[in-house]
């Protein structure tokens, strides 16, 4: 009987689901672009333009409703009597605000202070701020939305009975990671500090390097996200190009998304065209790199919770530069840069060129080299193109595995992948030694790229060139390179051509790959048309 009932269920179309299925229970599948609204969203409560009343209890009730304090147990509403005269309440989120500051500098003075006389008539807010609260940063607000934002960001809101304003005290003190050494952008010389998830700390790290009065930290309040992420842009007022600044602000203000946790999302939301695999922004975790760009007229975007900064505009050459380049003398710096560019060229062209020579143009190779290649492939049964593609995929697998696992295991994976797996694959005649060397060299070249996103783009281009070589040999490679170069030269990063200052040529007396001497001058990047003294 069970079997028949199961069969009947299986073949019938109108059987009801007993398991929980979210989409089936809803009225209809929401459209892709629709925003998911929940019961506590801003739109439902409609407090955007509301202001607080002079009734303390009514204000507390309203804020309780907004924060669903019946369910949200981390919303603390601490009632107290101000100077033993007026009822008041402090509202904050447990964990976001520093309890010691609240206890010692808000509750203690307000409850214990007796010698201060509150005015009998009129507002007592000014007296409280000036004579009672020993907190360094205080402000007065009356809009509910701003008070909500303040509480959510870790500040403490003090409501006083019969007052139409509230006091917002700076009590942010949530736990965050301490500043540590950069793990993803390693340098031998130069600062080692890296950004953390705390926006204030990140700003301090930049301010520590650029000690100028024209360093501006502008908050982008128009940027909308369901998680109310705080975003700031950092630039130098006297240097930055105003058109560039306006464009950045305009694009960031257009962001309206349901979640904004990282700068990668910001980058994807503001870049156009979006399918380009080449980065036109620089995401870095090193404050010295950010400071270097800001000094030259660049703009950095910082986001609360993201341990990186987004720099605009960038060029291919700035992405290829490492922060330690300036620590080296001109000759050594040039040498390092040349090696880096050779690495990129090898990484992109080597597998494709080898495939083209072995597959189409054997005549290009001398007899000795040809014999070596042939003898290494005698017992390998797969095609050389498949072999190279397979090895490239294996190489990426090892890299991904090495990145995801803990550091200690990562090294072991590198050894297993590089040595044991490679040797075993050669012994088993799955791949030839020549192909293994080619892919290994190409991979090494890829690691020379200082920027992670550019490194991935190089990998992408390498596969494209390999496929082009597979289809049409050297002709395919030359077409792929030509079109790749043409496409890259058509790209722009916030109006700055991606290949400047080389194509178009600007700043002619400052070499890009061949690094010049560092002299006493005050130049700024001329391709951003920054306002500083350029001496060009």
């Amino acid at each position: 009987m069970r079997f028949f009932s199961w069969l009947e269920k299986a073949i019938s179309f109108d059987s009801e689901y007993k398991d929980f299925e979210l989409l089936e229970q809803e009225a209809g599948t929401p459209p892709k672009s629709a925003k998911i609204k929940n019961s506590t969203s801003k739109a439902d409560l409609n407090y955007d333009n509301a202001v607080i009343s002079n009734n303390l209890e009514a204000n507390i009730r309203q804020l309780e409703d907004i924060f669903c304090s019946a369910k949200n147990k981390d919303i603390i509403i601490r009632r107290f009597v101000l100077c033993k005269k007026k009822a008041a309440a402090a509202l904050f989120i447990n964990g976001m605000a520093d309890n010691d500051i609240i206890n010692d500098f808000i509750l203690k003075p307000t409850m214990q202070m007796q010698q201060v006389k509150l005015p009998l008539f009129g507002s007592c807010i000014k007296t409280v701020i000036e004579q009672i609260l020993p907190v360094d940063e205080l402000s007065i607000e009356n809009q509910i939305s701003k008070l909500v934002q303040a509480i959510l960001s870790g500040q403490t809101v003090i409501l006083i009975d019969s007052e139409r304003d509230a006091i917002v005290a700076e009590t942010r003190g949530y736990e965050s990671r301490t500043v540590t050494e950069s793990k993803n952008e390693k340098t031998v010389l130069g600062p080692k500090e890296a950004f953390v998830e705390n926006l204030r700390t990140n700003i301090t790290l930049i301010r520590k390097i650029i000690k100028t009065n024209d360093l501006i930290l502008q908050s982008i309040d128009e940027c909308k996200s369901e998680n109310n992420a705080r975003m700031v842009i950092v630039y130098r007022e006297t240097v930055v190009n105003n058109d560039l600044l306006n464009e950045v602000i305009k694009k960031l203000s257009k962001i309206d998304t349901n979640r904004l946790f990282d700068l990668g999302t910001v980058e994807q939301l503001i870049e156009k065209p979006r399918l380009v695999p080449i980065p036109r922004f620089m995401i870095t975790e090193k404050p010295d790199k950010v400071a270097s760009h800001i000094i030259n007229g660049g703009i950095a975007v910082l986001l609360e919770g993201s341990p990186e900064a987004l720099i605009v505009p960038v060029t291919l050459f700035s992405l290829m530069a490492s922060s330690e380049d300036t620590y080296l003398k001109a000759s050594l710096g040039t040498l390092i840069r040349i090696i880096r560019y050779i690495g990129v060229v090898l990484s992109i062209l080597l597998p494709g060129s080898f495939l083209a020579m072995a597959f189409y143009h054997q005549g290009v190779l001398s007899t000795e080299v040809l014999i070596t290649v042939i003898s290494s492939r005698t017992l390998v049964h797969s095609s050389i193109a498949v072999e190279l593609l397979f090895l490239l995929i294996v190489f990426q697998l090892i890299r991904e595995a090495g990145m995801r696992v803990p550091e200690s295991i990562g090294q072991a994976i590198g050894i297993i992948g590089g040595l044991i797996l490679g040797q075993a694959a050669v012994a088993a005649n799955i791949v030839s030694t020549t192909s293994l060397i080619i892919v290994a060299l190409s991979g090494l070249g890829n690691f020379c790229v200082p920027n992670h996103q550019l490194m991935l783009s190089v990998t992408y281009m390498r596969v494209l060139v390999l496929c082009s070589a597979w289809i049409a040999g050297f002709l395919g490679i030359s077409i792929a390179i030509l079109l790749g170069a043409a496409y890259i030269s058509s790209l722009k990063s916030f109006g700055v051509p991606f290949l400047s200052p080389f194509a178009p040529t600007t700043m002619r007396d400052r070499p890009i790959i061949f690094r010049g001497q560092i002299r006493n001058n005050s130049r700024t990047q001329d391709y951003t048309n920054a306002k500083g003294d350029r001496n060009v």
Binding site: L365, S366, F474, I479, I481, L482, A485, A486, S489, A503
Partner: protein, 372 residues
């Protein structure tokens, strides 16, 4: 229209690539060296002549206060003839896009790809079509990237067979005489003149005609030095009789060096580097043809014309390769066609220059301001 604006260095690189691609690689050896090798005289002479004509035309446009070449033609010979001339120029550009690739396609078919011509034609269609899609700015910047590399490569290619250069191979010094040189110079001049006047149609992309003239002057100087060096190198390696049987002799400069001297045979790889320069030249010619036709038909998007013109250019390359032994691509036919094209172009431009401009003084002033 995907025009944009380009600087002087990009313009110089682009023009150099176009002039050298069309002159050195665009002319079949049978045509260039049929009556003795005198190309090292005729090609620089043709470039100089084209430059002289260009200067006269540019000066006329500037002094007349015209916005561009099209404006000059419209104001003088009328809208209808101006549009007709545009079509004529566009057709020439399509041929100019095909010319440098014919030699390369034949060489590739002979030595490397033993497949049909159609397959190679398909491959070469891709860059010819895609480059105009990316726009003029992108083409010029790509030229800026590739031109220095190709120059270094050419110098290396000329440097390797240094010990094999023999001056006696240059004889007879004037080929088949002055008449022959004049005919060739006129024929080559037509193609080079076309390239030089191309951007007079869109001077706003080159920061005005004056700026463009400076770029052309530099490009002509550099091109003459490079092309004369290349042709002299060819002449000192092969005699004119030998050159009649060699496709792209510049690529085969190192053939006289014993095999197995180098681990990689240089000339087979250089073929694919040099073809990049020709792709840029063809892409630019195709862009110009598409631009003119797009404006003629009052369209805003160049891409459909870029595809059509690129496809036609590839078909011309294919037909030229398949029927190379038949009349359509024989030497005299090509030479005289080019001379006639140049004559027609010059005739129209001379008439246009002589006719007094129509339009009020206000219009003239406005045009002059835009032009500056």
């Amino acid at each position: 229209m995907r025009e944009g604006q380009v600087g002087k260095i990009e313009l110089v690189c682009l023009l150099c690539l176009c002039i050298i691609s069309i002159s050195v690689f665009g002319i079949p050896a049978q045509e260039l060296y049929s009556n003795g090798n005198s190309s090292y005289i005729s090609l620089p002479l043709a470039t100089l002549l084209a430059y002289g004509l260009f200067l006269l035309l540019e000066n006329r446009i500037r002094s007349g206060g015209y916005i561009n070449l099209d404006d000059m033609l419209k104001c003088t010979i009328g809208n209808f003839f101006a549009q007709l001339f545009k079509v004529f120029i566009a057709i020439q550009f399509i041929f100019a896009a095909a010319l440098p690739l014919i030699q390369f396609m034949e060489t590739m078919h002979s030595y490397i790809f033993d497949t049909s011509y159609v397959m190679i034609a398909f491959y070469i269609t891709i860059p010819i079509v895609v480059l105009p899609w990316l726009g003029f700015e992108s083409i010029a910047r790509t030229a800026r990237i590739f031109a220095p590399l190709l120059l270094i490569l050419s110098i290396i290619m000329m440097f390797i067979p240094l010990n094999s250069y023999q001056s006696y191979r240059m004889y007879p010094l004037l080929g088949d005489g002055v008449g022959d040189i004049s005919l060739r110079t006129s024929a080559f001049c037509g193609m080079l003149f076309l390239i030089m006047i191309s951007l007079l149609y869109i001077p706003q992309c080159t920061h005005g005609t004056l700026y463009y003239r400076k770029a052309v002057s530099k490009a002509v100087l550099i091109s003459i030095i490079i092309m004369a060096s290349m042709e002299i190198a060819i002449s000192m390696i092969y005699t004119s009789n030998q050159l009649m049987d060699i496709q792209l002799p510049f690529l085969n400069l190192n053939d006289i060096i014993p095999a197995e001297t180098y681990s990689i045979r240089f000339e087979k790889v250089t073929l694919f580097f040099l073809i990049s320069g020709c792709f840029i030249s063809s892409g630019f010619s195709n862009y110009m043809a598409s631009n003119l036709l797009t404006k003629l038909f009052k369209q805003n998007d160049i891409r459909s014309f870029a595809f059509s013109c690129g496809f036609i250019a590839s078909c011309i390359v294919l037909i030229a390769c398949i029927t190379r032994d038949i009349t359509i691509y024989n030497e005299k036919f090509v030479l005289y066609t080019r001379c006639i094209s140049l004559a027609i172009t010059l005739l129209i431009l001379i008439i246009a220059s002589l006719i007094k401009k129509k339009g009020t003084n206000t219009e003239k002033r406005e045009r002059a301001i835009i032009n500056e």
